[in-house]
Symmetry: C2
Subunit: 471 residues, 2 copies
């Protein structure tokens, strides 16, 4: 067992607090709402019933869609895990926090760095506003002591420090990149952590979704007097796929379907816990994914639905993900094609909590409240698609330009630079099939100019993913 | 103006009637339910909100999905128009009625044949049971007098005899197979028919969906005392795409989206008419498509969503279509992955009407009642994918084998014969990406044997599509 020694407290939030000295205006006029953010890992745009999957059954997520808002142009801010999570928790494009690499796409077990102390996470921001803050699930923003969730504003943590396919210990000659590969827990030596203490290694991944759920429900029950932030980033359906005995073989869609149906069950448990605690009408629940499906794993991967490509690419399938917002009695039910990003959860949640986002640094998240409450459109009109610290693509309104494209993640990279860029009309052509750059030159010039301005305005920190080595 | 002379009445139904001498058992114990079957033309699996389209808005169809049953493994019986419609109306694989060709895939304006008189259509069957029967929309089962809807059991007809892209009169050098092509009504000399009289030529396609809708609503109002069969096969979204002024430019998804949103509006008008007439709880409404999207028309085509290929192919995208069943208070709401075919509407409707299907000929349709009423699974376990009279593919349960594949419709055919056949696990791999034939040889043998038996049992009439020439 490794015990991570606890060190100094979280970053100074003086500026944030200065803005919040007065009593916060809240949506209900009473206590500000609880915030629950649930994410799946590598789940595709097309994996839920309400997003068109024919046979994965997701009744609880479909209930969220039906009673709440289903966002069809909602984006993870990066096509892979660590940068996407950094953006969600800081409300900032990950380049600003150094959460990228020129050689490495994510953190690994021998990475030396993590989310910098000076970043303000959603947990820190809401914690300063009086929220209890818990994370149950995968962190992946640095596994060394100074970078753990408990050093970034979370009161408690139960979960994995990085992806469940890391610390590999595969049998000689085997490859986990095959649908016929049968995973066993001992093939991965991933630790399971409570707060800063390793409690199990290798983590029993079979029961991971179930145990995350039990922890989440216990957190809700413990903090029912609120307000609280519960961040529940599931480790599944990232490969290797594990489901509990109750779900193994239960779906018709194979182990991938079993895993999604167990996550759906988990969402149902969270909603039921909120119902039992009388908190449904005082809690915003968000469900999304950290990026698109890892297509190279074939039937062990999800589907992007009608979108092109998947994880690791800056096509829509890599970054457009299901977005579900649920808050009965407050959210205007329906479907919206307004543009949102996981970064916007930062700003939206802090606004709901009656706070203000830090004003000593650029914040990229916008408040999605106007859409959620049926008061207007999204303040977000653009989406920047970065890969390995480079702006590969840019969306403004209906148009998306690609400066660089690559093929599927996990396959040999086939980088192609495009000059002039490709341009797709995502409204008429969400599958990115028909390049209209040469037909609509005025629009092309406008989007390219907007992209260049965005790139020029981006503050870029030193990339922190490339520092590896040692143990 | 052409007037089609009216000739002899519809086929003898002695056998059918013999089976129905006693009072029919009905679902409500009173009058049997009205039947409304609405089809879109060339609409893809992924074109509706409830089937995952991100920005085509289909609130009325989504209401049908929400209040009724959404079928995710529902099939048109053929990948192109005429054979698909023949199967729907006769409950029989189209080979049995000669509704196929070895050289021609559908009927054309110079075709000499039509649906044979000896076929029993759903209109004839329900008409004999006391139903009023109306068709509003596209026929495409023979435009010469002996073959018209009014000779096949329909009391009334308002619509087009064949596809809206026929009788072409395109300007020199133009091609309608281009997204930038701007269609004008006069480019197609398609007649609009009322009963057996041509009332407009060229048909004003701009107002076609609106006028179909008005006719359908009038039919419902006129026959509110019921029971009635209303068959409403829209001409859209088959190219050329036309929408009324109210819908042109209304969607964000271009003209294709406008057209789908107008069809959705039309469905809303039908449901509202049923509500107004107090018939909602006495009417089964079904919505589906005649085949998948005609992908070669690019942004003027729909999307198969996560399915492979589209119209004209025997991949799933060519024949799996949205299936929506609505009957408030009677249908068990939900989503089902049970297998259904448009042929089954024949048997299901006749059963609901208290009749029995003809017993003097093979009937391929099965009664989907057990699924609709929450009493059990679908009696259908197989799906046969014929193209040009040849069995290209066959599904039994989760497995689908392909003996022959071809690429996209409208592109140069690239026929490939497969020996051994390809086999896909449609439950684990609905996108037909991973051939498992060599890994699951026992399943392969079983499905191939079932396919061979199915093919051997099929009665095949003389193909009637190839007879062309004259005017």
């Amino acid at each position: 067992m490794i015990e991570f020694p606890r060190s100094k407290a979280t970053a100074s939030l003086a500026l944030l607090m200065a803005a919040c000295a007065q009593a916060p205006p809240t949506a209900t006029g009473e206590q500000p709402p609880n915030i629950v953010i649930i994410t799946a890992d590598d789940m595709g745009y097309g994996d839920l019933g309400s997003f068109g999957h024919p046979n994965i059954r997701t009744p609880h997520l479909d209930r969220m869609a039906q009673e709440g808002q289903r966002w069809t142009s909602f984006y993870a801010q990066a096509p892979v895990c660590s940068p996407s999570r950094a953006a969600l928790l800081t409300g900032r494009v990950h380049l600003r926090s150094g959460m990228f690499g020129r050689r490495q796409a994510v953190f690994f077990p021998d990475s030396r760095a993590g989310l910098p102390d000076e970043e303000v996470t959603l947990a820190e921001a809401l914690g300063e506003l009086g929220y209890a803050t818990g994370i149950v699930g995968k962190w992946h923003l640095g596994h060394l002591p100074p970078y753990l969730p408990t050093r970034h504003g979370f009161d408690s943590w139960f979960g994995l420090p990085y992806s469940n396919d890391m610390d590999q210990n595969l049998p000689e000659g085997s490859s986990n990149q095959s649908a016929s590969f049968e995973p066993k827990i001992e093939y991965w030596q991933v630790p399971l952590i409570r707060n800063e203490t390793e409690v199990e290694r290798p983590a029993d991944q079979t029961s991971l979704t179930r145990r995350y759920t039990e922890e989440a429900v216990a957190f809700i029950e413990e903090h029912r007097d609120g307000p609280f932030l519960l961040y529940l980033p599931h480790s599944m359906p990232h490969i290797p796929l594990f489901a509990s005995d109750e779900f193994r073989g239960r779906s018709t869609a194979g182990i991938y379907g079993d895993v999604i149906e167990e996550i759906d069950w988990s969402v149902g448990q969270v909603l039921a816990a909120l119902d039992r605690a009388g908190l449904s009408e005082r809690t915003l629940v968000v469900f999304t994914s950290d990026n698109g499906p890892w297509l190279s794993y074939e039937t062990h991967a999800g589907t992007p639905g009608l979108l092109r490509h998947g994880k690791g690419t800056t096509f829509e399938g890599g970054m457009r993900v299901p977005g579900l917002f649920w808050w009965p009695g407050t959210i205007e039910p329906g479907v919206t094609q307004e543009i949102g990003s996981t970064m916007d959860l930062f700003t939206t949640a802090i606004t709901l909590a009656g706070g203000q986002v830090p004003d000593d640094r650029p914040i990229d998240g916008v408040d999605l409240g106007p859409v959620l409450f049926g008061e207007g459109g999204s303040p977000r009109d653009v989406m920047a698609y970065y890969r390995m610290g480079e702006l590969y693509a840019f969306r403004q309104g209906r148009y998306k330009v690609h400066f660089v494209t690559e093929g599927r993640y996990g396959l040999a990279p086939e980088r192609t630079d495009h000059d002039p860029p490709l341009m797709f009309d995502l409204d008429e052509d969400p599958s990115e099939r028909f390049d209209v750059a040469m037909e609509r030159t005025e629009a092309l010039a406008a989007v390219v100019a907007a992209a260049e301005q965005y790139r020029a305005n981006m503050t870029v920190a030193e990339p922190l993913f490339d520092a590896r080595g040692g143990s």
